[in-house]
Symmetry: C2
Subunit: 358 residues, 2 copies
């Protein structure tokens, strides 16, 4: 089993974590390693194991509790292991799988777990499995079912990459299918049939002409989206097709619930067969909550809206204000070129240390 | 080898032909059988073999020549062999593969080949292979290349199913692809991309609003068609797609050449990337030619437009008036339920006998 020095520079700790293979559903080694390191180097914490997740917390009786969560798994290796380090000091660049998504965030949290013996708020750390695959396998979901009291907090911080800035809330995402039916016929006698593909002309017009909302919440700007992601139909080269399906992905600002967003699309596509195939509600930024406002202040007073969907929505659903705050450029996540600047890792660690210290 | 009695009722001859397996590219047995029958029972004809096609003709020095052509192959067997006969007299129904497409037509021609020793016009019979598969393998095309003098005639009659009526000419068919390109992006930041599926909204609108022409030629009505046969696009559930393709089948009346029809579609879809993937020109009915007019008269004076594409277009391209005239309902062709009424077979035989007799 590899070993981790939690008191090391979080940049070195990031490099050590990157070199532990941990593709989703194969997190046993990294979870064992993290658990052993916490038990040995952070004796002030209560540490438990749940599946391949490791949970740790202080029990100091502070009036408020902050939860720091990071997933330990990565997407599949893509010629980007082991870590490659280039340059020096804060301009050093760490290349490799997970440098962005999200072992640099994990490293910051592990470093703070060992370093902060007397934090200002009680702190809970959650290092979990299976974030990169289907939602039903998500380790945080399992913890919510099996150990709900471990998720209680006044603020949750997810270490997902956010360019080292606070990203508040997240947009919801919904996928719908619009299905048009027709009647088959030979194309030589097309008028004897009803062409389902032609039937998509009108919903596709509504979609192409749609102007998505731009919504302001708590000073953050959310830009919605409505995008076709798939279209399909056709039987054979000489047959009028009897079915065609248009799949649309809607990203909606967190001022609308999933039900409201669905109602909006049903109104937009009135007269058509609309089926919701996938729906994850968004999360309000919740930055006005005291602990969240304190964190924003510690980070320099600026926050932006999170547009993608992340596990912050799970906390929002539990009524817990949640933000993304981690090193790395999220647009590099899941690419072979994943890389992060050492200075950004240290800056996130320093903001969180200030926020959590008396 | 099976044997055929060419002097039998063409209904019995149809049943005998249906029972000889002859899926495309496996026509050797049926061609051998037809050749042997013609050589033994129609000694007044010059008979030759070309691949798995059998050709036969009179050489009586008549001022005009009529060509009768039928393909010997069928589509694959679909639980519809051997023949099943039901009922009696003219109301008897023959069920089975090829009863419609087109062994009943072949049977009529074979019957006439043996019966008409002194026809009014010189007569050429062409029984050919591989009509049901790709055009490059078509036996009639091979004969055109290797024995062009055998196709010379003043009128060509194809025994394709036409409900026992004269069908003049045929419509052309063209397939085009309209391709729209875009730029990929994550759907959470859709405005950073260009959605190719949305780009199909406008061509699909033009297509759905298009009114096809109805064209009158030589008293026959051709109804054109413009039908989407396929639509496709999409990368993943959270990606703005960068390519979408709409495939359209155009059926056009024979007053337009392939080039004219293509120009029409390029004008309709101006501004879009249009690619012609398949084009077979139509054939003018040519019913004003003397021999054709005589045949129409013999059939009771009525003719209708052929909307599907058949080998009559090959003859039209050679400057030979050509019609479809055969027993059976063309909409039953290629179905498991193929069946033909005995009376219709006898009626077609009787019209052709009258037309060809002095």
């Amino acid at each position: 089993m590899p070993s981790l020095d939690l008191h090391a520079d979080p940049v070195d700790l990031t490099a050590a974590l990157v070199d532990i293979f941990s593709v989703s559903e194969e997190e046993k080694v990294i979870a064992d390693t993290v658990q052993a390191a916490l038990q040995a180097q952070a004796p002030h914490l209560e540490v438990i194991r749940n599946g391949d997740a490791v949970l740790a917390r202080t029990n100091l009786g502070r009036p408020s509790r902050v939860l720091l969560a990071g997933h330990l798994d990565t997407v599949p290796v893509n010629e980007n292991m082991p870590v490659r380090r280039e340059g020096t000091g804060d301009d050093e660049i760490l290349h490799g799988l997970g440098t962005v998504d999200m072992k640099s965030g994990d490293a910051v949290f592990l470093h703070l777990a060992a370093a902060l013996r007397e934090p200002k708020h009680d702190v809970t750390f959650v290092f979990y499995d299976c974030e990169e695959i289907e939602a039903t396998k998500n380790g945080l979901g399992r913890i919510e079912r099996e150990l709900p009291e471990w998720l209680r907090a006044d603020l949750a911080i997810l270490g997902e990459p956010s360019n080292g800035g606070i990203e508040g809330g997240c947009q919801g995402t919904m996928r719908i299918e619009i299905r048009v039916e027709g009647a088959r016929a030979h194309t030589a006698r097309g008028w004897m049939g009803v062409n389902a593909i032609h039937g998509l002309a009108e919903p596709l017009r509504r979609l192409a002409e749609y102007t998505p909302r731009v919504v302001d919440i708590d000073g953050l700007t959310y830009r919605e989206g409505l995008q076709a992601t798939k279209i399909g139909g056709g039987v054979a080269g000489n047959v009028v097709p009897d079915e065609a399906v248009l799949t649309i992905n809607h990203r909606f600002a967190p001022d609308r619930s999933g039900e409201q967003a669905e109602a909006h699309l049903r109104e937009l596509f009135e007269g058509y067969d609309v089926k919701v195939v996938d729906l994850s509600p968004g999360a309000l930024p919740g930055l006005s909550a005291p602990a969240a406002a304190e964190l924003v202040a510690a980070a320099g007073g600026k926050a932006v809206a999170k547009l993608g969907w992340t596990d912050v929505a799970r906390f929002a659903a539990l009524g817990i204000p949640a933000v993304n705050f981690g090193p790395g450029d999220p647009t590099l996540a899941h690419t072979r070129q994943e890389n992060v600047r050492a200075g950004e890792i240290r800056q996130v660690a320093s903001v969180l240390r200030a926020f959590l210290s008396v």
